[in-house]
């Protein structure tokens, strides 16, 4: 490589970025979960899902931005490895689907104060997609190069 990534010259860069990544996804997925739980009739039920979505959308977006940029930097430390890592590829499919779902169908479902009749289904799909992102992210570290599966 002609250009070396400065991230790889410090042993601390990767774990510190991971910490930002964790706080970012806790914030974004946590706030999404509050809205989804409300659609399911659990947790904050005195407010409508639409009110909760208006209260939390900025923090969801903020968490997503932190998660995305720390994630891009983590990816840049060893792109070839991630490209060949099947949990990473699955995670990306889940992540792109989750973000598209969140800003289209999910946003429409929580845009009016009367939740749609399929609100529970939408909440379930949303939670499923975000959990898929988490599982994909964890499994990245448990696959050996060469696309096989094993334990470290």
């Amino acid at each position: 490589m002609l250009i070396t990534n400065p991230l790889n010259s410090s042993a601390l860069a990767f774990p510190i970025l991971e910490c930002f990544h964790i706080v970012g996804f806790a914030l974004s997925i946590g706030t999404v979960a509050i809205v989804d739980f409300s659609l399911l009739g659990v947790g904050m039920t005195r407010e409508t899902p639409a009110q909760l979505a208006r209260d939390t959308w900025l923090w969801t977006l903020g968490g997503l931005v932190v998660m995305l940029f720390s994630g891009l930097l983590l990816f840049s430390s060893d792109p070839d490895m991630y490209y060949l890592n099947w949990p990473f590829l699955i995670k990306m499919v889940f992540f792109v689907s989750a973000v598209i779902f969140h800003y289209t169908i999910h946003r429409k479902a929580v845009s009016s104060d009367t939740p749609p009749p399929n609100g529970k289904l939408i909440a379930g799909v949303s939670l499923f997609l975000w959990c898929g992102v988490i599982f994909g992210g964890i499994f990245i570290g448990f696959v050996y190069p060469g696309l096989s599966f094993g334990r470290i």
């Binding site: 946590g30 979960a33 209260d55 939390t56 499994f139 334990r151």
Partner: protein, 201 residues
């Protein structure tokens, strides 16, 4: 005494089986992370509400009281998975500086909960009646934010410390060494770890 306890717990049949399984550990870790994103996210929202940074249209009592139950479920999931991971490699965790720090920070969470419980968490409706959020409620929220983010970071740090193989209990050591050799080899075939673990036992 503590050391013999952690050695005993990881050699129980249950945790030996858990350690030997290639799939269970990452699944438990993923569920730990799901718990963190639910429980951690809701803690962040509660703290940010007390600080007046989010959900300002909702009363503090509304946020604190309604999130209490889902937070407990999230905590239960996180702690259960955390304990399963600890038990499967208890001796390694025992020596891990980040794990020790994490336990101290968790103890500090209990201390701060105890200190602030009556003033802040027992009656959040009283906080709404005050013209501005009282200083000690904001202090409790700031301490909670600091402690929980530090706990998450320490948790991430645990994986970066190699276990001191010279100190590890002999029977466990064989497992680590075979696992390390397998992970450092060019390719590890599916199921190979199971064989290693079986022969070591």
């Amino acid at each position: 005494m503590l050391l013999s306890f952690v050695q005993w717990i990881q050699l129980t049949d249950f945790f030996t089986a858990l350690r030997g399984s290639a799939y269970v550990y990452p699944i438990v870790l993923s569920l730990h992370m799901v718990g963190i994103s639910l429980f951690g996210g809701m803690i962040l929202v509660t703290d940010l509400r007390l600080l007046g940074w989010t959900m300002r249209k909702r009363s503090i009592a509304d946020v604190v009281n309604q999130l209490r139950v889902p937070k407990r479920w999230g905590l239960l999931l996180t702690v259960t998975c955390g304990f399963l991971m600890f038990g499967s490699k208890a001796e390694e965790y025992y020596y891990n500086a980040f794990f020790r720090t994490k336990l101290i920070l968790l103890a500090l969470v209990l201390v701060s909960e105890f200190v602030f419980y009556r003033q802040v968490y027992a009656d959040p409706a009283a906080l709404d009646q005050a013209p501005t959020v009282p200083g000690n409620a904001k202090l409790a929220a700031a301490i909670s934010l600091l402690l929980w983010t530090s706990i998450a970071c320490c948790g991430r740090g645990i994986g970066y410390i190699e276990p001191p193989l010279d100190k590890i209990h002999a029977q466990i050591r064989v497992l680590y060494e075979t696992a390390l050799t397998a992970s450092r080899g060019p390719h590890s075939l599916k199921g190979q770890d199971h064989q290693d673990v079986a022969s070591a036992n």
